[in-house]
């Protein structure tokens, strides 16, 4: 008995030391003594939720009639493409997760300009390389091309349905109306805005494009975009560029011209560069559009929330203060009501807080406001476990048992109630987690994770830590002869 108790004390002490190390540092490294290489290198920064630190949360949903038809792997590919797109905007710490059958939750900490991000997310993007001859349409104008989406075997039905423009063989009213006025309205360039509803030839689509990268140009201060072609596109491109040197090849995204470079020389080797008046940013932006043009599943934004950093910082400061006051009152109450065991329970509560923070940082859970609520509830339950045990302890002491017996009986009798009440809470947590995960309800999910974790840690501290502390104190200081210390 004594031996196992000492073992627990050592385990607890080691855990506390480790936890404090994690709690107080933002990055932990453990070196392998044999080859001097880092064995563990982990970022242990506490992750704060968007509702606390400010930022943008966007919920995307597949833009299809029936969510059951969405292929989960296609949705995941969509998520990856979207993530690459926004990563390319230079935003750090983006998290993007699929939720259920047809939703994607995207979180952008620190972002307050939602428009740029959401715009980039919402591009459905059919990328075409269009023969413009010698007179290109200005950037931004709408074009009608001869590309028929159905021809592309790789694209799903959903995508091919998304681009609206159909081939316009005769002068149907709509495409004409959109093409010409825009071309005229744009100042500069394109004096010959051609006849209405001119159908341009699509040389190839983004599907034939291989890698795209940005590199410093040969001219000082300018950037260019290097690209390679897949084998399917190499021949087409070689033939076309050979016969069209000096003419314009427009890059068209969703029937809108995004760039109209001129063909300087034939590109026969399957790789080339786009030169122009690019800065790093515009070059990157174009590269992103080239790289991640089409999505396997079209998506639309159904929910978008921006929290300003001022609201977040204010909430944090006030909540932390309030939480500290609340905890101080609880600690005081326990000490006054339960005397010695109360003080020991308080120490166990501090241990609980240290351990929980460590787990949060190690696993990388995000701390949000609902999560905090779950945590406060779990603190309540941690205290409750101690209260249950001490009430039992008092009863056993009143019944005339000696201290040693009373402690052991108190624990064993309180255990079924602690076990059953916490099990039911854990059951609730699991169901809420599954629900929150499936429907993209991140609030419910965060709450259930924090509460569930809190319950598990509180079980450990109440049943093992408190008991070990109590024995440590009682075995070394003969306080057992003073019933007043136990509030009797």
């Amino acid at each position: 008995m004594t031996r196992s108790r000492n073992t627990w004390l050592i385990v607890i002490a080691l855990l506390i030391v480790f936890s404090l190390w994690v709690d107080l540092s933002n990055n932990i490294t453990i070196m392998n003594p044999f080859n001097d290489k880092p064995l563990v290198n982990k970022n242990t920064q506490l992750q704060l939720g968007l509702d606390i630190r400010g930022g943008l949360q966007t919920l995307l949903q597949a833009d299809v009639a029936n969510c059951a038809n969405v292929d989960p792997s296609a949705l995941d590919v969509t998520r990856q493409i979207l993530q690459n797109r926004v990563n390319a905007l230079g935003i750090s710490e983006i998290t993007m997760q699929t939720a259920g059958n047809c939703r994607i939750i995207a979180e952008f900490p620190g972002i307050t300009n939602s428009q740029q991000v959401n715009d980039s997310l919402q591009q459905t993007a059919l990328l075409e390389f269009v023969d413009m001859g010698s007179s290109p349409l200005p950037v931004g104008s709408t074009v009608v091309t001869d590309y028929e989406p159905k021809a592309s075997g790789t694209q799903s039905n959903a995508t091919s349905a998304a681009p609206t423009a159909t081939i316009a063989p005769t002068a149907t009213a709509t495409p004409a109306a959109t093409a010409t006025p825009e071309a005229n309205a744009t100042p500069g360039a394109a004096p010959t805005a051609t006849a209405p509803a001119k159908v341009y030839h699509t040389v190839m689509t983004g599907a034939d494009l291989g890698t795209v990268s940005v590199q410093a140009g040969t001219l000082g201060g300018q950037y260019e975009i290097a690209f390679t072609l897949k084998s399917s596109g190499t021949k087409v491109f070689a033939d076309y560029t050979s016969s069209h040197v000096g003419q314009y090849l427009a890059i068209v995204l969703d029937k809108k011209v995004i760039s109209a470079p001129i063909i300087n020389s034939a590109i026969t080797g399957g790789q080339g560069v786009i030169q122009g008046n690019f800065t790093v940013d515009t070059a990157n932006a174009l590269a992103v559009q080239l790289r991640y043009g089409s999505l396997p599943v079209p998506v639309k934004i159904v929910e978008s929330q921006t929290v300003g950093p001022t609201l977040g910082a204010d909430s944090v400061r006030k909540s932390v203060l309030a939480g500290a006051i609340g905890l101080a009152v609880v600690v005081l109450f326990m000490a006054l009501y339960y005397r010695l065991p109360g003080i020991i329970a308080d120490l166990a509560l501090v241990t609980y807080a240290i351990l929980s923070l460590m787990i949060f940082k190690m696993v990388g859970f995000t701390l949000s406001l609902p999560g905090t609520a779950g945590f406060i509830l779990s603190i309540g339950m941690a205290v409750d476990a101690n209260v249950l045990i001490f009430e039992r302890l008092k009863e056993e002491l009143r019944a005339g048992r000696n201290l040693q017996q009373a402690i052991d009986l108190g624990w064993s009798r309180a255990w079924p109630s602690i076990r059953d009440s916490n099990t039911s809470t854990l059951i609730t947590c699991v169901i809420l987690y599954v629900f929150g995960n499936a429907y993209g309800a991140s609030i419910v999910k965060g709450f259930s994770i924090n509460l569930g974790l809190g319950v598990l840690v509180s079980l450990f501290t109440a049943v093992i830590v408190t008991r070990a502390y109590l024995h440590l104190v009682l075995d070394n200081m003969k306080l057992g002869e003073h019933p007043r210390w136990f509030g009797l």
């Binding site: 203060l321 609340g326 209260v387």
Partner: protein, 314 residues
């Protein structure tokens, strides 16, 4: 102390809170046709813009006019609901709008007020998703209730009629849910509070706490049922409730201390949430002492057989 003896008084007290709450919910439903509670935009769809003005604070009329100006058939954002937020900010609710509209609105506000306009919070939710989340939350709570019922049934298999314990715990839980919903409906009427997703979290918390609390009391009954085999059921249940009373009150106090601190010092954004939690936690303790255990006694004695007779005599 005899708590079980006055069980019908305690049931009456519960009804005195729940019935008015239900009336307020019905009133809201019949007057607006939008369900029992005033829902926030997370559930009903719409956009919420909270902006702070560094320049001159515009009147609500000016903001309303701007919204009307940018209103389109696709985004009918005219006639927004505007509420002041502190002394230099507004909270504005309207139909859902996209980011482009928001940007134009902010730009227009900036020109009007000759100063920086800071967005504290901008949320836009399309109408379809809210209804789905509400329905899914309802299903999740239902599933959780069934799972808890089954677990208690299993955990209490050593006593007679274990299914009663599970059922009573679920009834007590529903009691707390109705208390919280009712209070929310009243607050919606008097203070124009809206049920948002934080409210949903609060309800979930209350459910967790309620069942937790009830099981602790029931555990004592389970233990005593095997010790005091000759004592009649009502006395044994009462004894168990009284034995756990200190613990029930102390546990509740510790949670309430933290919540009171959060309500007083925690800032505006979570006050609504914390107050609902306070109500729910209080109700959870009340129902575990004064409803859950008495229901066991009512069931054991099958008292419903005499309810109507009593009424006939009175």
């Amino acid at each position: 102390m005899n708590i079980i003896k006055n069980r019908y008084l305690y049931f009456l007290i519960s009804l005195l809170v729940i019935v008015p709450g239900i009336i307020f919910m019905i009133l809201h439903w019949t007057s607006t046709g939008q369900g029992p509670l005033a829902l926030g935009i997370d559930f009903k769809g719409g956009s919420l813009l909270e902006v702070q003005f560094a320049g001159t604070l515009p009147s609500t009329g000016t903001i309303s006019a701007l919204y009307t100006q940018f209103s389109t058939p696709q985004e009918p954002i005219a006639n927004p609901i505007i509420q002041p937020l502190g002394n230099n900010a507004y909270s504005i609710q309207s139909a859902p709008m996209n980011d482009a509209t928001e940007s134009s609105l902010l730009a227009a506000m900036k020109t009007r007020t000759n100063g920086a306009v800071t967005v504290l919070n901008f949320t836009s939710v399309s109408a379809s998703i809210g209804a789905e989340v509400t329905r899914a939350a309802g299903i999740a709570i239902l599933l959780a209730a069934i799972a808890i019922l089954l677990y208690i049934w299993f955990a209490f298999r050593s006593v007679d009629h274990p299914v009663r314990y599970g059922t009573a715990a679920i009834i007590a839980m529903l009691h707390d849910v109705f208390v919280v919903l009712g209070i929310e409906a009243m607050l919606a009427y008097f203070l124009h509070w809206e049920a948002d997703s934080l409210f949903l979290t609060a309800v979930l918390t209350v459910i967790g706490f309620s069942v937790h609390d009830t099981i602790v009391v029931f555990d004592r009954i389970r233990e005593n049922a095997n010790i005091y085999r000759r004592v009649d059921y009502e006395t044994m249940v009462n004894h168990s409730v009284v034995q756990t009373l200190d613990r029930s009150i102390n546990t509740q106090l510790t949670v309430m201390f933290t919540l009171f601190a959060l309500a007083l010092f925690g800032g505006d954004s979570i006050r609504h949430f914390v107050i609902i939690l306070l109500v729910g936690i209080f109700s959870g303790t009340y129902s575990s002492i004064f409803n859950a255990s008495p229901i066991l006694v009512v069931w054991e004695k099958q008292e419903w057989k005499t309810w109507f007779r009593r009424k006939a005599e009175a």
